[in-house]
Symmetry: C2
Subunit: 340 residues, 2 copies
């Protein structure tokens, strides 16, 4: 059986892999925002007891994984594959978190789309018949990202109005071929879209066209209507990127009444001094593994399209005058009907 039409971007997953459990871990600023109650672990110490920001980021992933495994009542050895990535050079946040896990490991780099990318592949592997349990995981940390991508924290550089604030957070989902929980029905894998935006402080504008491209592909491939989703939510477009996305979709004749963005939800944009909102792998990771999946479990949403957005630039590509290639991966998640 071919589960993906030639030329399309969407795979249909007949086995509907199940999200058995999930966990979110965040830092202090996130614990002071509007989603505070949705996270599993919120540390008041952004070092997480470690000696460097990079080690702190790994510690977040380890905590997210162990918390999610505990909720699913599984040992790490029960995982057939762990798929993870992050923003740090050489993805050390994930590699050092996975080092102690004794689990087959597949490292990913999808920039801030990594929660959706890891979830996509974790679901595709299960639907393909490769094992019984997989884990999808990611993280970002404001302090490790800021010094790697921008300027030393101590420098106190002023931020542009279009800038976003990298979320200190991690999300981890445990998937099963069988079990109870929300299920993944479709995976829409993004193409790289680059409309020539070169401003690394305006990533929402760079990523919005990629998000539009993938969302349009999803509706085209599946034949679904906007009303089929209670929520279509992007990862970290921020306030400006979110508006641009709505405009781009409208231009293509797609009105999504329930369009939202994790980056505008995780902080209070009026009071938390984050400019256009949250960003980073941990933004969509922690919002998925908090607000969104808890909300599905509690009956708030029946069907969502989770669209992780990523800007595939590096400081080096920016210094060399390059524009920002972006990508967005969409994952359709559906809550099982009660008693079904």
């Amino acid at each position: 059986m071919n589960k993906k039409r030639p030329g399309g971007q969407t795979a249909e997953l007949p086995s509907r892999p199940c999200l058995l459990s999930w966990a979110s871990v965040v830092g202090k600023k996130e614990s002071e925002g509007p989603l505070a109650d949705t996270f599993d672990v919120a540390s008041q110490d952004d070092t997480f007891g470690e000696k460097s920001w990079e080690k702190a980021e790994s510690a977040m992933q380890k905590t997210a994984l162990s918390t999610a495994l505990k909720k699913a009542n599984l040992a790490p050895g029960a995982l057939d594959y762990l798929l993870a990535g992050d923003l740090l050079n050489q993805c050390i946040g994930s590699a050092f978190a996975a080092r102690d896990q004794d689990v087959p490991f597949l490292g990913l780099y999808g920039a801030c789309s990594t929660m959706a990318e890891s979830l996509s592949l974790a679901a595709l592997l299960l639907d393909g018949g490769f094992g019984a349990h997989t884990a999808a995981m990611t993280s970002s940390h404001f302090c490790s990202a800021e010094r790697q991508y921008r300027t030393p924290l101590e420098y106190g550089s002023q931020r542009t109005p279009t800038a976003q604030w990298t979320v200190t957070g991690s999300g981890c989902v445990i998937l099963g071929r069988e079990g109870q929980g929300p299920r993944i029905t479709h995976v829409t894998t993004g193409k790289i879209v680059d409309k020539g935006i070169k401003d690394a402080n305006n990533m929402g504008a760079a990523m919005a066209p990629a998000a539009a491209d993938t969302i349009l592909a999803h509706f085209r491939d599946t034949g679904r209507k906007p009303s089929d989703y209670d929520l279509v939510i992007t990862g970290d477009l921020g306030q400006l990127g979110h508006q641009l996305l709505a405009e781009l979709l409208n231009q293509q004749g797609l009105q999504l009444p329930n369009l939202a963005d994790c980056g505008t939800l995780i902080y209070d944009l009026n009071s938390q001094d984050v400019h256009c909102g949250g960003s980073g792998c941990g933004c969509s990771g922690a919002v998925l593994c908090g607000l969104l999946l808890n909300g599905m479990r509690d009956g708030r949403w029946k069907r969502i399209l989770f669209c992780g957005t990523g800007a595939l630039l590096s400081p080096t590509s920016t210094q060399q005058g390059e524009s920002i290639p972006s990508v967005c991966h969409g994952v359709a998640i559906e809550q099982e009907r009660q008693g079904a």
Copy 2:
């Protein structure tokens, strides 16, 4: 059907995805080595006509992809997924190469194991029923790697005897659910292994235990014997790592008479001043997509186990005193019997 036993690391691929075509692109030094005749494109200009080493690396990937597609007589639009990664921060070698391809893109980070990781996932997706064609690709470039991981080229730093030389090269494989060519029968996904080696100039020693772990898992999971393979070949352990691997396997009672390493084959270790041999994603990528797959096509080997080895460190993790987590992914490739 579950194609992977719980607790094992090996997936069996009943559909045996086919390697339809492959292409290798290398630089000047590689074109002066013993494998010169096996590469599709060997440039005498390591800039590949670009203005930076990073752009040169992307150009190599683009050439590898277009060459492989041409050999398979396919347009980029025929690809259901492109899986690629490289060593550069934020994997810009791959992102900028994939930007112009109009193909669903999944970015990977497996350090120098990326050729095996991308091949693994490209095969698993096809066997899972997700599309008809996939591509697996990677690259490395001596000049972009040297300045990112070590010192500015102009500095002319002296190299330790255990050091290896990052290959300027790229490899790309086009896979099909159907067609003619060598076939992937098993994929053994590695766990992260870290025996505490901290010397970033001795990555062979860091990676050898990971290679041993995955090779032992492959034989344990499949019940195969060493004589079932004409060749078991690692990616870039180099001379020292290769010797360590043989010792580690011997200690576990596994003698592999046909054990080799891409890193010791790609250069003449006596005359090319590369110390312990070649390294980098492009090392195993270019050797797979030249010597190895050409050799299978020509009847030199019937069955090989291709084991990409990766050291998941970063300069930051080394500066913070960390040891080197390593990983190795194994892919069993089998040439179709004539007339079968």
